[in-house]
């Protein structure tokens, strides 16, 4: 295997086009995407610092009092009324929103300024603020009515933006959406805990829902910067091109009768396939390491990480590299068996991009339709990306078992298929 590996490494190193695809391209894309989408991910928000105007037309105190006053006319039992009064006093929707907008987490990104409606409109026109959030009159009253009594249609927050569809506008919209989402969950939990008729099973269910809400809105994990994300995303995408490079080289070997010369040496044909598998695995691992090192040295993406961190990254990279070896072996088998490199060309020209898309190399899987996310998790690059991100966010090693198992399963399937397809006869 060492003979094949050394030869494949030498051939690859001398092929400048292939080297450009394997090393320069992912690095360039990493730089472009890392800078362009800086701020979209949690780690580096200074690039998206934006002032927003808040037009507060609601009177929270009055709204809460009005809600409590009207409870008398509904005719609820006294103990329920007391519970609802207490919940209404605790909920305070506007205060919750204010707390979010001025929280430490948001301070790097948002700079809320209280203005009246005309001032806000002027500021938006002048470009002094990126968006205007209007809290309408009776927001608290309508919100409490909807949330606690399910009466009326609730209240809406209004957002005006200077550039519709811009990154800042989208982000602000997302923050407010998440606030509304959180509010709904908290309401559900409040209602559940306040409902005397709720069974313990239902309470467990609600508690589970609250857990889900918690994860969605509050991340206890370390944020991932755009450079970290796209270093990983490009690495897991471009590592697939190692497989196509190896497949293409196998085709050239077949065409130029080098493969025949290898067969004439009386090596078992599977030794050749094994050589391709090992070469692809090692080259893929080297490629990932080079990209990580470059990203760390130039962008300090993984600077000051611990030995344990790098060990985890190395393990994930190794498992992914084995899977890439499996892809390379399959492409080699198909190429040699059918003396045709069409599959390799199709894989290189289309399938890699498709895998990269559903695997989250272009945008996080959480931003895509759910079914794409499910498919993405079963791609080697998608599963590896998920494992890397979890590991970078400090997840427990046990949590990595699932994506790693998926990659290992894919690798075994690919390898088995390649051994099955590869011509085992000692002739061609």
């Amino acid at each position: 295997m060492g003979t094949f590996l050394k030869k494949d490494m030498l051939v690859l190193v001398r092929d400048k086009t292939e080297l450009t695809i394997l090393l320069a391209m992912p690095f360039i894309l990493m730089v472009i995407l890392g800078f362009a989408l800086r701020g979209l991910l949690g780690g580096d928000t200074e690039a998206l610092h934006m002032p927003v105007a808040v037009v507060q037309l609601d009177d929270e105190q009055r709204g809460t009092e009005q809600f409590v006053d009207e409870l008398d006319s509904i005719g609820l039992p006294p103990e329920v009324m007391a519970e609802l009064e207490m919940t209404a006093a605790e909920l305070r929707p506007y205060s919750l929103l204010e707390n979010i907008l001025t929280s430490d987490n948001m301070s790097d990104m948002l700079e809320p300024v209280l203005l009246d409606a005309s001032e806000a409109e002027q500021a938006l026109k002048n470009g002094e603020v990126a968006a205007v959030l209007t809290v309408p009159e009776n927001f608290t009253y309508h919100a409490l009515q909807k949330m606690l009594l399910d009466i009326g249609s609730g209240s809406e927050l209004h957002i005006s933006v200077s550039e519709y569809g811009s990154l800042s506008a989208s982000l602000f919209h997302e923050i407010i959406d998440r606030f509304v989402h959180t509010l709904n969950f908290e309401t559900a939990v409040s209602k559940a805990s306040g409902d005397m008729a709720t069974t313990s099973a239902e309470q467990e269910e609600m508690a589970a829902a609250a857990d889900i809400g918690g994860i969605e809105t509050v991340s206890a994990r370390e944020p991932v910067s755009s450079f970290q994300y796209y270093t990983i995303a490009m690495a897991v995408m471009f590592v697939l091109y190692v497989a196509t490079a190896i497949g293409q080289k196998a085709y050239v070997e077949r065409q130029q009768h080098v493969f025949s010369r290898i067969l004439l040496s009386d090596r078992h044909p599977l030794a050749y396939l094994g050589g391709k598998f090992v070469s692809a695995t090692v080259i893929a691992f080297c490629q990932i390491v080079i990209l990580f090192v470059l990203s760390s040295l130039i962008f300090r993406s993984f600077a000051s990480e611990t030995v344990a961190f790098w060990f985890g990254m190395a393990v994930i990279s190794f498992v992914l590299s084995i899977c890439v070896g499996g892809v390379a072996a399959l492409l080699t088998s198909l190429t040699i068996r059918f003396n045709n490199n069409a599959v390799t060309i199709v894989f290189s020209a289309g399938i890699v991009s498709l895998l990269a898309f559903v695997g989250g190399s272009f945008m996080p899987v959480s931003e895509m339709a759910e079914f794409l996310g499910v498919i993405g998790r079963w791609t080697p690059n998608g599963a590896a990306l998920s494992a890397y991100i979890q590991w970078m966010q400090g997840a427990d090693a046990k949590l990595l078992l699932e994506p790693m198992t998926r990659i290992a399963v894919i690798a075994v399937v690919l390898l088995s298929a390649s051994v099955f397809i590869f011509p085992r006869r000692r002739s061609i």
Binding site: V11, R14, Q256, H257, S260, R261, L264, S265, S427
Partner: protein, 310 residues
């Protein structure tokens, strides 16, 4: 030592090789002659165990190599028609790789590499990348790679196609030395008649997947022993003269050449007077006349009605 028994290979219903029987004795140099598409490469691929015959067998020392390809692979060196080398690697790196896959290691490998590089005359260029070599140099390294493991039988498939005269001469001389001085058994295929005439003791002539004639060079030439070849150079091409010569009943065959016409006539026939008469009649000037004894090319032409390079 090596023989084929009714070797046959069918591709897509068409027989590329159709019942070939040939043999080689130890230390012999055998030529396999035939035009492009005659089935020479397929025959070689079957003999070297790369292609499985549709039927028939290849026997080495009386044992089937179809059933056990390993036995022939151990003693066989193949120089393919293609440059079966890694173009991005140097000659030395290529030889290291091919030597290693043949199980050679360390000093033994280094010694063998030095020997084969010396043999093909490229020891001083061994550190250069193969793709920077001329076609002739690439073919010489192609041959060196086949010699690393000291084969007993060397099969060469058109090893001089498209190369410069110097490299061609070097390859032919190397093969001759290997055969005569080291007793290497050689199967040499070519459509260059002069190469086969120069190198080989015995010749098989193939066409359309079959052996159409075989024997020692002189035996084959005796097929045409009752005939002579007359080369006539003209001052300009003149098709009407060729037509009238073809009508001449005393002339066995009249064909056009680059410089004029070529005639195959019965030995001793007094044909030249009538040829000059015809030339004068058509007002064509004869600038040269050359009478030759038959070559293998003439034998092939006689047997197939076609030139080798058609």
């Amino acid at each position: 030592m090596l023989e084929t028994e009714a070797l046959r290979k069918v591709f897509n219903g068409k027989a590329a090789v159709d019942g070939i029987n040939l043999y080689m004795e130890k230390g012999e140099s055998v030529g396999l002659l035939g035009p492009n598409g005659a089935g020479k490469s397929t025959t070689i691929s079957m003999i070297s165990s790369l292609v499985r015959p549709t039927s028939g067998d290849v026997m080495l020392h009386g044992k089937s190599t179809v059933k056990d390809p390993s036995q022939i692979r151990r003693v066989l060196g193949v120089v393919p028609q293609e440059i079966a080398l890694y173009q991005e690697l140097t000659a030395y790196e290529n030889l290291i790789f091919f030597g290693r896959i043949y199980g050679l290691r360390g000093k033994v490998l280094e010694k063998k590499i030095a020997e084969v590089l010396e043999l093909v005359g490229l020891a001083d260029r061994q550190k250069e990348v193969v793709k920077t070599y001329s076609g002739g140099m690439q073919r010489r390294i192609n041959m060196a790679a086949a010699m690393l493991h000291e084969p007993e039988i060397l099969i060469m498939d058109e090893p001089t196609v498209g190369i410069d005269p110097q490299s061609r001469s070097h390859i032919l001389e190397t093969v001759r030395r290997l055969n005569q001085e080291k007793g290497l058994t050689v199967l040499y295929t070519s459509h260059y008649m002069e190469e086969v005439e120069r190198l080989c003791d015995r010749v098989y002539i193939m066409d359309h997947g079959r052996i159409i004639a075989s024997g020692a060079k002189d035996e084959l030439k005796r097929i045409l022993s009752g005939e002579e070849t007359i080369w006539i150079d003209l001052d300009r091409p003149y098709p009407k003269l060729l037509s009238s010569l073809q009508m001449n009943e005393e002339i066995i065959q009249a064909t056009e050449t680059e410089k004029g016409v070529k005639l195959i006539v019965p030995k001793g026939a007094r044909i030249l007077a009538s040829v000059f008469q015809e030339a004068e009649h058509h007002q064509v000037q004869i600038v040269n006349v050359n009478v030759q004894t038959p070559t293998l090319e003439d034998v092939f032409l006689h047997l197939t009605g076609r030139k080798l390079r058609d």
